[in-house]
Homo-oligomer: 449 residues x 2
């Protein structure tokens, strides 16, 4: 099986069915998985999406809405539905998904939606709406299988069947005491295999990992990945069980965080939607470019300072841009490796020191090799051995600076509690530009004139 890609024939089939009657549309939609319909939605108009949601059975419709990209405004579709259809769909949604979608609406729209659904659902969703969406509380689902630790095997199994009636899938059963304080976790398999007279508290696994509701989602992702967990319980300060986070929600978080890393390191605001409008893109990128323009003037002022030299040795301008550019590229390499390493695990002081030392060495060697090539070119084209020496030294020096700054600046930022990825290549290349201009100009002034 291959992952689903939209092709013209699928789209045409849906478009034709949209123009035909509802029965035909239902028949065609039946050929697709809910997540495939969600992907097809990217190419349909808001009106077409609404029409499709209206003819789909509520359970499929709810799956489609929960799989929809936030940019396609699933909240708005939900809001525009007939209140009865809307309630049916929300009832089918997991609480965490329902909360995510409803949170996209304006406050008065949220009220209107919540007023029309089942009282208990509304209470649960209202509670989840209070958590910041980037925290464990914002990610969690309040639907859990929760047993009192004092239940017998038989009562426990009955309770599991009762509670799982409305749940699609569950991974772990949580045991609590009378005040809902988490006592441990137990698997259905273990209850099932236990002897008849066993109580739940005899089966508990107590060395489990849990998180508090206000923990950042990135930390939750790191924990679940580190301990290979498929779900993790969420508790309040008194260890009362509030809900659980499942691995499928964490995969979305990981993709989000990885997107942010790659954008920040390239000087793009982390909030830029990948498929957002050009207005958003300008807003997200222009500030970085203007900061960089300021630093570029700084680097250019180095060149102004040596304006006399250039008049005498115009060829230096061409070489200087090569050395500055190579420094920028080497710095980007060192930066990418270091930022990625930091985001996968924390580095000790000794590891940080070794990283900087390694990048110093790499910069020196790569600088020397490229320096020799430039030296040979200078001999060949310009027949000037002294110019060759100047360029060799400048290239080596600038690539050492590139390695040192590319590694040490993100490490330093991390220690200062600042996101290391903001040490974007835009910032780092300021150093390599300045040094890349300064070294050849200064060395040439000293050695060639």
């Amino acid at each position: 099986m291959q992952s689903f890609e939209i092709n013209k024939s699928d789209l045409l089939k849906i478009k034709n069915a949209l123009d035909a009657n509802d029965t035909e549309l239902q028949r065609v939609l039946g050929e697709y998985h809910a997540s495939e319909i969600a992907i097809l939605f990217e190419r349909l108009s808001p009106e077409e999406r609404e029409k499709i949601i209206n003819v789909l059975p509520s359970d499929i419709a709810s799956e489609v809405i929960s799989e929809m990209d936030e940019e396609n405004h699933p909240g708005q579709i939900l809001f525009n539905l007939h209140p009865e259809k809307r309630s049916e769909i929300i009832e089918e949604l997991d609480y965490d998904d329902a909360t995510d979608i409803i949170s996209q609406l304006e406050e008065h729209e949220q009220q209107q939606v919540l007023d029309h659904i089942d009282q208990e659902d509304a209470t649960n969703i209202r509670a989840l709406l209070t958590y910041d969406e980037d925290t464990a509380g914002g990610l969690m689902n309040t639907d859990v299988i929760k047993l009192n630790a004092n239940l017998s095997k038989k009562d426990a199994l009955e309770e599991v069947i009762r509670q799982s009636e409305e749940m699609e899938e569950f991974y772990t059963i949580y045991a609590v005491n009378d005040r809902d304080i988490l006592q441990g976790i137990v698997s259905l398999k273990d209850i099932f295999k236990a002897k008849p007279d066993v109580m739940i508290h005899d089966l508990l696994k107590t060395d489990y990992v849990f998180v508090k509701a206000e923990i950042d989602q990135e930390e939750v992702a790191r924990l679940m990945s580190q301990y290979n967990l498929t779900s993790i319980p969420v508790v309040n300060d008194h260890l009362k069980l509030l809900g659980r986070i499942t691995i499928d929600d964490i995969i979305d978080v990981m993709e989000e965080e990885n997107t942010e890393d790659i954008l920040k390191i390239s000087g793009v605001s982390e909030d830029e939607e990948l498929s957002g409008s050009w207005q958003d893109a300008v807003k997200s990128r222009l500030p970085w470019l203007i900061i960089n323009l300021g630093t570029a003037f700084l680097a250019a002022s180095v060149i102004r300072h040596f304006a006399g030299l250039e008049a005498k040795l115009p060829i230096i301008a061409a070489y200087m841009t090569i050395i500055a550019g190579m420094g920028g590229n080497a710095a980007t390499q060192a930066l990418a490796v270091t930022v990625r390493r930091i985001s996968l695990s924390d580095l000790s002081d000794a590891q940080a020191y070794n990283t900087v030392l390694k990048e110093f060495l790499v910069g020196m060697i790569n600088g020397a090799v490229n320096g020799i090539i430039v030296l040979i070119v200078a001999l060949w084209y310009d027949a000037n051995p002294m110019l060759g020496l100047v360029l060799f030294l400048a290239m080596t020096g600038n690539l050492i600076v590139a390695g040192l700054t590319g590694a040490s600046i993100p490490l330093l930022l991390k220690r200062l509690g600042i996101d290391p990825a903001v040490a974007s290549s835009i910032i780092i290349t300021t150093f390599t530009d300045c040094i890349g201009f300064l070294l050849p100009l200064w060395l040439a002034s000293a050695l060639l004139l």
Copy 2:
């Protein structure tokens, strides 16, 4: 709870226990989770690691070994163990993990290890060793809960208990026919809740997703993420069930792929180990830098061509570097957004066209804003309105080129079947360097002289 970070006191405690006797070492190790010991291993010598594996109970030792970073050579530790301890540990490992670790050894070492373990385990591991490690076959675990579709509820439950005896956790039960051909999936919950006279084939879910063994792991990750799966069955060409891949293995794949993306876009070979040696880093990065040196000479030849102009207008060199540098940064921004977007989903022709159009617009607007700033600076510092106009036009033009190349080159590569991330900023900035030098020099020649 916070994710585990190594601190000095933990390390000191372990080191002291290593110097004391085995009982003390066992007591201290008992305070840590297996995955925490695997993290602590990063700071211990190979001898210390072996000593710890030797005193740990086999089930914990196998967990530690399966969590160890590949760079710390878990295979070598396993190989150095006493054959009896080694067999115990391998028996505790999942087949997929055992295969990964054993595959790190030389062929004759692999034989030696496999000759000393249980016959059935050895056969399973030998079969897994034949798959490429980057494919579904290389990722899968052959330990699955597999039921004949013709079993009754009662027999099925007994069979599940029997088969799950040795399994840590399972998510899905696979139903097969007499020739092991996959018929569908069923959940324990559904078997459990079924009426007594129900047969497995009545409970089957048949619209499940599966993969063939030779599919690339990246494709598996995309499927599991797209369809929100916690596990996926792996089959051969005849749909015979070979094994299953679980979501925890996919998380590692996703992190690997994301690391590769961020490295490639920054001009680092995808194979560079983040914490590898300086020799590896030189090998991985030097080729890219040398390619870039070639393209830098190309850009510099533009400057050489206008050497006469520079002698008359030395100030142009400083401005030219600013315009080229800004182009490089804007191109990096457009590139990062486009590459990340492609790696998360495939773009249709219409979406690709819109992306290029958007980046054109963004480049034009960001170029014009930065162009106006440079124009003002040129008026202020150099009192030269015509120079200001030249710079404004050159900046706008170069940022348009930056947007166009940053978006269109990765899209083009993708359509040619080449990994779009190799359109690294190193390649893209060649364009912006050339145009960034050419535009101001050519416009200045035409308008100022």
